[in-house]
């Protein structure tokens, strides 16, 4: 579902109806709005899920309501809407001593970094906005844009807590990019391609062909990737950059209203992106777990989204189970545990592929 495809489709549908340039712009805008709609619905859904799962885990009810009016709808279903409205109608404060342009730029930069990552995620054989031959590399690269945004946010707020938070998140994201990259390299070794679609087609033919079951090293690689990716989202147990007990709110300390909402939403979008990458690289992407069964394009969207959502659920689950790490523990985990094991994995898989021929 590339832009070219939509362009040709529209051209066939309405020949000569619009000028060529207009048609091209329309063809570009369509996936954009589809993505935007998807993110909006996903955002509401995942925030609601987070509230409910966290409450159930703690034996609470979460948002509830017995009707309308000032209640949050049946079962609190309108709670994310209320939260969103609340954030968007709040006063937008920019501190007097803040670096204004950078302060305004940072939330957009982080949101763009997350948003643009989705375009390389395949939802089906043809349902991908941009099928790049370096898709996985592109997502890793674009994801690192977040570091710049977080440092910008921390620096431009002109606040010591924000600066500490920004520095910590930079250190953390840069460190954890390495084990995440190392475990993706293993996948690339097996699939011998950087393209998301080719990695998926390597795993076709049922659950036992998925890369996670390919050889004994892969589950380890999957776990390393998943935990490192979790660390990159700055969520508990890796939420040192915004740890409330030490840093007020870290790099978002000075943000309020809609700008805060951007940081908030980009965290959840990021969760989806890395879950989708993990699903693509290890869990067969849009492939059905049964060979030649439920493998039509509509089902492929279902499989992709349900695999990604399951991993998002695991992230929420982990968040409400595991307490926050200390800074030294965080660095220990990355540099002394994940990176050696990741390197060993690459070594092992290389030998495995050579021996298997």
């Amino acid at each position: 579902m590339t832009v070219d495809f939509i362009y040709n489709f529209l051209n066939d549908l309405l020949p000569g109806f619009l000028g060529n340039d207009l048609l091209l712009i329309l063809a570009m805008l369509l996936p954009f709005f589809a993505l935007f709609g998807f993110i909006t619905i996903y955002g509401f859904g995942v925030i609601y899920a987070e509230l409910k799962v966290s409450s159930f885990i703690q034996d609470k009810t979460g948002p509830m309501g017995q009707g309308y009016g000032f209640h949050a709808g049946k079962w609190g279903l309108l709670q994310p809407v209320a939260d969103g409205l609340h954030l968007f109608f709040k006063e937008d404060i920019i501190p007097a001593t803040a670096d204004r342009p950078l302060f305004i730029l940072a939330p957009f930069l982080i949101f763009i970094g997350m948003f643009v990552g989705i375009i390389a995620i395949p939802f089906g054989e043809a349902i991908i906005i941009s099928d790049m031959n370096i898709g996985i590399f592109y997502i890793l690269g674009i994801g690192s844009l977040a570091v710049i945004a977080l440092i910008l946010a921390g620096w431009s707020s002109n606040n010591k807590w924000a600066l500490y938070g920004g520095m910590r998140s930079a250190a953390q994201i840069i460190s954890y990019e390495i084990p995440a990259g190392l475990s993706l390299i293993v996948v690339i070794l097996l699939a011998s391609s950087l393209s998301m679609q080719e990695i998926i087609s390597y795993q076709s033919g049922g659950i036992f062909n998925w890369i996670i079951f390919d050889n004994p090293f892969m589950p380890i690689a999957f776990i390393i990737f998943f935990i490192s990716a979790l660390a990159e989202t700055n969520r508990t147990p890796f939420d040192l950059p915004e740890s409330e007990s030490e840093l007020v709110a870290g790099f978002v300390t000075e943000y309020s209203g809609a700008r805060y909402a951007f940081f908030f939403l980009s965290e959840y979008v990021n969760m989806f992106v890395i879950s989708a990458v993990a699903a693509t690289a290890f869990l067969g992407g849009w492939q059905s777990p049964f060979p030649n069964f439920l493998n039509t394009p509509a089902w492929s969207v279902f499989w992709m989204i349900s695999k990604a959502f399951f991993l998002v659920f695991v992230m929420i689950w982990v968040r409400w189970t595991v307490p926050r790490l200390r800074v030294d523990q965080l660095m220990h985990l990355c540099w002394k545990v994940f990176i050696p094991i990741g390197l060993f994995n690459i070594f092992g898989v290389s030998i495995w592929t050579v021996l298997r021929g």
Binding site: V53, F56, D59, M64, Q66, W317
Partner: protein, 193 residues
């Protein structure tokens, strides 16, 4: 080296057992929930067991209520209040002991005392009240009382009366429009005469 792998093993098992615990709570959500949807659901109030019958224990500190139909406007409760949070204004009734339909005034109390005064204002500021109960004892008609408890038959208990505005905590017990209504009625009568 052994410690390194032992640490990895320990932390993995610890995290997994923690996650097992939390997922259990998640799936038990239906029956394990400890919170209540407060305004709709409440915990049952425990019965008071203080040794004697509820009715013979005549002190409860919940919220004041006034049966304004029985109040004769004697101001005894106002004088008794140590914090002066009761404000009463009265007007002389034109016909002692008779109902005045226009303002819903009832001439005789349930103790068959004829009322000489119309209570035009009876305000209690519950944000100032210290719940000392001193105002209820002097009342000759026993018409000012705390809700619930021994008075349950007269007014059900109400100890949850938070309000969004502080002024909403001033309870107006006199019938609305009594003051103006009485004045208007007297003016009309004068005009007729």
């Amino acid at each position: 080296m052994v410690k390194y792998f032992a640490d990895i093993y320990n932390s993995t098992t610890a995290i997994l057992s923690g996650m097992y615990l939390t997922i259990n709570h998640l799936f038990r959500a239906k029956k394990g929930i400890a919170t209540l949807q407060y305004p709709e659901e409440r915990w049952p109030r425990p019965e008071r067991t203080i040794g004697f019958e509820h009715g013979s224990y005549n002190v409860i500190r919940s919220r004041l209520h006034v049966d304004i139909d029985d109040c004769i406007g004697c101001l005894k409760c106002e004088r008794a209040c140590p914090v002066d949070c009761i404000k009463i204004e009265t007007e002389k009734s034109p016909n002692r002991g008779e109902d005045i339909k226009d303002i819903n005034h009832i001439g005789i109390t349930s103790n068959s005392t004829k009322k000489a005064l119309v209570v035009t204002r009876f305000d209690i500021d519950m944000s100032e009240c210290c719940y000392c109960n001193l105002c209820t004892y002097p009342c000759p008609e026993e018409c000012i009382f705390m809700t619930g408890g021994p008075n349950e038959s007269r007014h059900s208990i109400d100890y949850e009366f938070s309000e969004p505005e502080r002024t909403d905590l001033i309870y107006h017990f006199s019938k609305p429009g009594t003051k103006d209504g009485l004045q208007e009625m007297l003016n009309n009568r004068e005009a007729e005469a």
